[in-house]
């Protein structure tokens, strides 16, 4: 069979290179669209050939790379990564369409970077070798760094450098963790290997408990910063806010932190010296992020910044759900990643549109936009409702699964999260009221509604939000399979 995973990873990168050669905006965006659509088709094909009843990796590809260090080119997808790949594959073409008519300098670089990011992110989701994993992990940084620094807002340089270095430090700490597990296994078996499943399986045989905890914490830190979770979130508001709309959406697509949590942290969690400590660390981080992000979002003046903080709050559910260690909560957390990706992309698209149309994002300066932009208003209200966890929309499935599941083991933390729900509703509705409703602020001048391309891409995502809210099974089933396997592992260890 064809190396489909290599294709969905490499095609975007190759196309990105091609786009760099293009001269005009038309060629660039056309190539970009083709590339992303190809990836989408391949992913859909893969999705329909994916067996969601087994938890093992599928479509595996394996090639020796640097044998003397046990490094190999090892790809595969499972129930954890498949939905996230699907998410990227779906949103990216729509993102290209969304930006179809935008005017910006050097569009070829722009689209090239977008595709490069897609390739790198999908690479992270498919890599089954720590070396490869880390390579893609770092590779996601660079295009985003450029996207923010070139097309970003007024404060872009500070934001991009901060994001770049902050997350790079995290990656390096994670690398230390990887080294730890790598050599621990090497010393145990005498043969080096960077293979993720193999190393995760070896982890339990490490004698020194301290070593195990250190490795776990180092890896955890790397992922937590990327998620990002309180208190390591301070790169996020700047980066998300300063990034161009497409950049913000790509940031949202960057679900690698949570992915690492499920793919790498949970399988080794029960074998750490003090699992319960680790669990409570994650639970605390998660629940605090939820309520903390909510309060901060409430206090924001800038619409996009508010959305950024709301994303901190939402990603808290991921950490909390992972810590919940009930198949429902874990799969709920995975689903939260998926749905959060969809919802936030619409949110950021809306912010971008409002910013372009009115020239400001300060909520109090807006007002009554719904009268001028009815189409946007409809989609935006839906997105906001989804974001505040309204039933029937994808956000609710995730949150209720996380809350219900996690309550079994972590009641106290769930109560904290529950308190945040009202705040969440508050800042969403308040922002809507001030920005979209009420009397139109004439100072904004003439405001035009979203164009056909934007309507299409946002509309499609909105419909998906609705669809997965009503029928989550298409992605939730495979998540459940994977999470049940993880949880059964926990149960076996009596955690």
């Amino acid at each position: 069979m064809m190396p489909i995973l290599s294709m969905i990873v490499l095609i975007p990168l190759i196309i990105a290179a091609l786009i760099l050669l293009t001269k005009t905006k038309e060629q660039a965006r056309f190539l970009a669209l083709t590339g992303t659509v190809i990836v989408l088709l391949l992913t859909v094909y893969m999705y329909f050939n994916f067996d969601s009843t087994i938890a093992d990796n599928q479509f595996v590809e394996f090639i020796q790379w640097i044998p003397s260090l046990g490094i190999s080119y090892h790809l595969g997808v499972d129930g954890i990564s498949m939905p996230l790949i699907l998410l990227n594959a779906i949103v990216l073409p729509l993102l290209i369409i969304f930006t179809w008519n935008d005017e910006r300098k050097s569009p070829n670089k722009f689209y090239a970077l977008i595709l490069a990011t897609e390739g790198a992110v999908i690479g992270v989701f498919t890599a089954l070798d720590f070396f490869l994993f880390y390579v893609f992990w770092e590779l996601t940084l660079i295009p985003l760094f450029f996207l923010v620094s070139i097309w970003g807002g007024p404060n872009k340089h500070h934001a991009s450098i901060k994001f770049f270095i902050y997350t790079h430090v995290a990656s390096l700490v994670m690398l230390l963790g990887i080294f730890g597990i790598y050599f621990a296994a090497w010393n145990l078996t005498g043969t080096p290997s960077m293979d993720i499943p193999y190393l995760l399986a070896q982890f339990q045989f490490i004698e020194s408990g301290i070593a195990k905890d250190m490795i776990f914490l180092a890896l955890l830190f790397g992922f937590i910063v990327k998620i990002p979770s309180f208190p390591f979130h301070s790169w996020l508001p700047d980066a998300y806010t300063e990034a161009p709309t497409a950049g913000s959406v790509l940031f949202v697509m960057l679900k690698i932190g949570g992915y690492g949590l499920f793919k790498i942290m949970l399988p080794i969690l029960p074998f750490t010296a003090s699992p319960n400590l680790m669990i409570s660390i994650m639970a605390v981080l998660g629940s605090v992020s939820i309520i903390y992000g909510a309060f901060l979002a409430l206090s924001q003046k800038d619409l996009k910044r508010m959305v950024a903080y709301s994303s901190v709050s939402h990603m808290g559910y991921v950490t909390l759900g992972a810590a919940g260690l009930v198949s429902l909560s874990v799969s709920g957390a995975m689903f939260q990643q998926f749905s959060h990706g969809l919802i936030m992309s619409v949110m950021f698209m809306s912010c971008g549109i409002i910013n372009n149309a009115t020239g400001t994002r300060i909520i109090n300066d807006l007002g009554g936009l719904a009268q001028k932009m009815p189409k946007l208003a409809v989609i935006m209200v839906l997105a906001f409702m989804a974001s505040l966890g309204l039933p029937g929309l994808s956000g609710f499935i995730a949150e209720v699964s996380v809350l219900a599941g996690a309550f079994v083991n972590l009641p106290a933390y769930v109560i904290i999260a529950l308190m945040a729900i009202v705040i969440t509703a508050a800042y969403h509705l308040w922002a809507l009221q001030r920005a979209m409703f009420g009397v139109f602020n004439e100072k904004l001048g003439t405001v035009l509604d979203i164009n056909g391309y934007q309507t299409f891409s946002m509309g499609v995502i909105a419909i998906l939000i609705l669809y997965f809210g009503l029928n989550p099974s298409p992605v939730l089933e495979m998540m459940l399979t994977s999470s049940e396997q993880i949880v059964s592992l926990m149960a076996a260890m009596g955690v």
């Binding site: 260090l69 940084l141 790079h168 690398l175």
Partner: protein, 484 residues
């Protein structure tokens, strides 16, 4: 004995002399032919060396040895020399002293290569000095440029000082062991170990080599010299003669003075930490790119000297691989700077600091190839994956953890995190800051040199297996008794 073993050196000597002689009869206008000649000679030498990889022999009554280690480092030197020569073609354009430039460069390379294969302190010292003397002259190549002269002067004084220290140290070793042959020294160390002379000698030697490797505090000349000397020469210094110091240190300490391991391990631990931290922190707010690169190469030297501390095959292999990668990255970076300097000077003759970071504004538009390769080099230096810099850091740092020096690895990793700041700053200037000046045509030789370096960086990054293999082989030479 088989002269073919020395085919590379012989080729170089001949080339050097040929360049010198032919240069005498050429009018200034047509001297740039010499550059091509030199490059050709170096290339041939490089091919000889590559083909002789894996051969194992000693010559000249055991004072010179050909082995994986020497060949590996010869490749490093020759690659750097090649980049030096190719970019030199443009640099020396219209200069009446072209032949000196290339001859000196070639002789410096010969010196380095003999250091790499030296098996006797006499040879080592002489070759060391040969390289040094040639580079002293090169540093001051721009006789009319005060900066170049000052650079040369500082380099020379500190250089000769450290030469003296080195020789003094060697004299003690000779006195205590009664021989200058490296394996023989290793064989009868007992006197030296028992006497206080041991420590003194070790420290004197560290100072002597540390000057070339540019370890804090023996580094003081480096920033000034790298900044003041012609960029192409800085490339040779940073990428080439630095490695010479490293290989010499490898031989002398790990092979000859292994009995004093405890002493010099501690010394190197201290120096490595100080050096990498100092280099990175001071590099943070430099405005001269060459100076910034100088400090960054301090930091890199710090990383490499971790190999002395860890002292496992993997660590040494990592260090050796790092030497190669650093050769490509740093030489490339300096040559890119050279291109920029060339551009600036061609725009206004009397610009005092042509390598100021402001001259990099909008380079992405003005010199796309140079900018892109510079980006790759700095990211490689920062250790971004799929570059030579990453794989070398990977091997070196991970070996540090393997050997249990977690604290050292943590320091190193934090350092490379810091370093990202000033590397990213260069990229920021090249791509994100606006410029009013327009695109210019990039000088071909520089471009070729840059492309070669980029290819090197990326190939090592992607297809690392053979490089790791050979560096490990080289490391074995050092560690396995009687390997030499």
């Amino acid at each position: 004995m088989d002269l073919m073993l020395f085919a590379p050196e012989i080729t170089l000597v001949l080339t050097g002399l040929a360049v010198l002689l032919i240069g005498l009869f050429l009018p200034t206008g047509s001297k740039n032919i010499l550059g091509y000649l030199a490059s050709l000679g170096i290339l041939i030498a490089l091919l000889f060396t590559v083909s002789s990889l894996g051969t194992q022999a000693t010559a000249f009554y055991g004072t010179v040895s050909i082995d994986a280690l020497s060949q590996f480092f010869k490749i490093v030197f020759l690659v750097v020399a090649l980049l030096f020569a190719i970019s030199g073609i443009k640099y020396t354009e219209g200069n009446s002293h072209t032949e000196e430039f290339f001859t000196l460069g070639i002789f410096a390379t010969i010196g380095m290569m003999f250091v790499a294969s030296a098996n006797d302190l006499v040879v080592l010292f002489v070759a060391f000095e040969l390289a040094s003397l040639a580079t002293y002259a090169l540093a001051g190549f721009e006789k009319k440029n005060p900066r170049s002269l000052e650079a040369a002067m500082k380099y020379f004084i500190i250089g000769s000082l450290s030469a003296a220290l080195l020789l003094f140290g060697i004299s003690y070793i000779y006195g205590a062991t009664g021989t200058t042959s490296i394996p023989a020294i290793a064989a009868n160390m007992d006197v030296l170990v028992s006497s206080p002379m041991g420590l003194v000698a070790v420290v004197l030697l560290i100072a002597g080599f540390g000057f070339k490797i540019a370890l804090v505090p023996f580094h003081m000349w480096a920033p000034d010299t790298y900044q003041g000397a012609p960029s192409v020469v800085s490339a040779l210094l940073a990428a080439g003669s630095k490695k010479m110091g490293i290989v010499a240190a490898f031989k002398v300490f790990i092979v000859a003075l292994i009995a004093l391991q405890a002493e010099w391990q501690i010394a190197f631990a201290i120096l490595a930490v100080i050096t990498m931290t100092y280099g990175n922190i001071v590099a943070l707010n430099q405005t001269s790119v060459k100076r910034m690169l100088a400090y960054s190469s301090l930091a890199q030297a710090g990383y490499i000297s971790m190999a002395f501390v860890v002292l496992t095959p993997m660590a040494l292999g990592g260090g050796i691989l790092y030497a190669l990668s650093h050769g490509f990255m740093k030489a490339g970076a300096f040559i890119a700077t050279a291109a920029v300097v060339y551009m600036v000077l061609s725009e206004n003759k009397d610009s005092t600091d042509p390598d100021h970071i402001d001259n990099f504004r909008g380079l992405g538009k003005r010199m796309p190839v140079t900018a892109l390769s510079m980006t790759i080099f700095v990211f490689a230096l920062a250790g971004i994956p799929l570059t030579a810099g990453y794989i070398s850091k990977f091997v070196l740092f991970s070996s540090t953890i393997q050997a249990g020096f977690v604290w050292l690895a943590v320091i190193a990793i934090l350092n490379s995190a810091i370093s990202l700041y000033y590397y990213a700053k260069v990229v920021k200037y090249m791509y994100f800051l606006p410029t009013n000046s327009e695109k210019i045509s990039e000088p071909l030789p520089y471009t070729i040199a840059l492309i070669i370096a980029v290819i090197g960086v990326l190939v090592i990054g992607f297809w690392s297996e053979p490089f790791i293999y050979w560096s490990m082989e080289a490391a074995k030479v050092l560690l396995i008794p009687g390997g030499i």
